[in-house]
């Protein structure tokens, strides 16, 4: 068996067990047939590339379908919910700071929530992850509902929650990258953005 076919069979292990048991062998056989029946080399490469590019989305869809069958929530809404949950630390930290300022007159910048490491997680990493998964499923949904990728439907039906989560997480990331004059934990110079502040503090290991 050619190496690429063996590698493809290994990649099929990424699918959920139940789906793999039901369809894994058949998917592998169909892939073998597709390659075996294509005489032109560059077209075989396109087949391989297309399968590799679509694999993450297909795998994610099957995992989320398994959640859907248990919770009866659609795939798009499941992903939107997960994406929104990833943004809760950002809203929680912002709310805590506001409450602290109103109740005690002082910001909560001295707490662990505003340490460089924690900031890096709730203002950069989690929103980035949220945006990535929301945008990926949104794009895959739009592609699935259109014949040609060049004519992707801009708003596939049922994807409003996904679109909202994507925009929200992108806004938070933009805040991190572009918002300046932020009172970062260690009184950064004027004009420092959140991102620069976090990176500077993490890289200099400032523990004050």
């Amino acid at each position: 068996m050619p190496l690429v076919n063996k590698l493809y069979r290994k990649l099929l292990l990424l699918y959920p067990l139940s789906y793999r048991t039901a369809y894994g062998k058949e998917i592998a056989n169909t892939f073998d047939d597709m390659l075996a029946n294509e005489p032109i080399v560059y077209r075989r490469l396109i087949i391989i590339l297309k399968e590799l590019l679509m694999l993450p989305g297909n795998v994610a869809e099957q995992y989320l379908n398994s959640i859907q069958t248990v919770t009866n929530i659609s795939l798009q809404n499941s992903v939107a919910l997960v994406g929104f949950l990833l943004l809760i630390p950002f809203f929680g930290a912002s709310l805590l700071d506001e409450l602290s300022e109103h109740l005690s007159g002082a910001h909560a910048f001295h707490t662990w929530i505003w340490s460089p490491f924690a900031i890096g997680i709730w203002i950069i990493l989690l929103p980035a992850l949220s945006m990535f998964i929301s945008l990926t499923i949104y794009t895959l949904t739009a592609i699935r509902k259109s014949i040609k990728v060049s004519k992707v439907v801009m708003y596939p039906k049922g994807s409003l929650p996904l679109a909202i989560v994507t925009i929200l997480s992108a806004s938070i990331l933009a805040l991190a990258i572009y918002q300046k004059d932020v009172n970062c934990l260690h009184a950064s110079p004027d004009g420092t953005t959140f991102l620069q502040c976090v990176v500077t503090n993490i890289t200099t290991h400032d523990t004050k």
């Binding site: 039901a22 369809y23 998917i27 592998a28 087949i47 297309k50 679509m54 694999l55 297909n58 099957q62």
Partner: protein
């Protein structure tokens, strides 16, 4: 005969403006003539769409799973070929396909009457 009428009534009651996804429709169309296995379905869809739709193995079986769960297609045994799994339209699948084709036929009629078809299709 009764089951065809029964499914027809049920489908009319269930039918809204939500039509089948494009891939699902193409799979049903590919199975309209005879049962096929996965690679045959991919080839048939490629032929039916004049090469415009080139389905991958992963995407195909995602749709096959959904169609089986919806009861629109069934798996059958082919004694002559035990290596592959064959699928065929169920009764409900036949009726659903019939309704989808009727919708597209009506849409074509309307498009022709309004002279909005591209020139390559207008004369067909």
């Amino acid at each position: 005969m009764f089951d065809i009428v029964f499914f027809d009534i049920i489908n009319c009651m269930k039918r809204s403006f939500n039509h089948l996804p494009q891939v699902a429709f193409n799979i049903l169309l590919a199975l309209a003539l005879k049962p096929r296995h996965g690679y045959e379905i991919i080839q048939q869809i490629d032929d039916d769409s004049d090469g415009k739709i080139k389905l991958g193995a992963g995407a195909l079986y995602s749709s096959i799973k959904q169609l089986r769960e919806s009861g629109l297609i069934e798996e059958i045994d082919m004694p002559d070929d035990t290596r592959r799994r064959y699928y065929k339209l169920s009764r409900e699948g036949e009726i659903t396909l019939k309704h989808e084709l009727a919708y597209y036929e009506q849409s074509l009629k309307v498009a022709r009457s309004r002279h909005v078809l591209p020139k390559t299709y207008a004369s067909r």
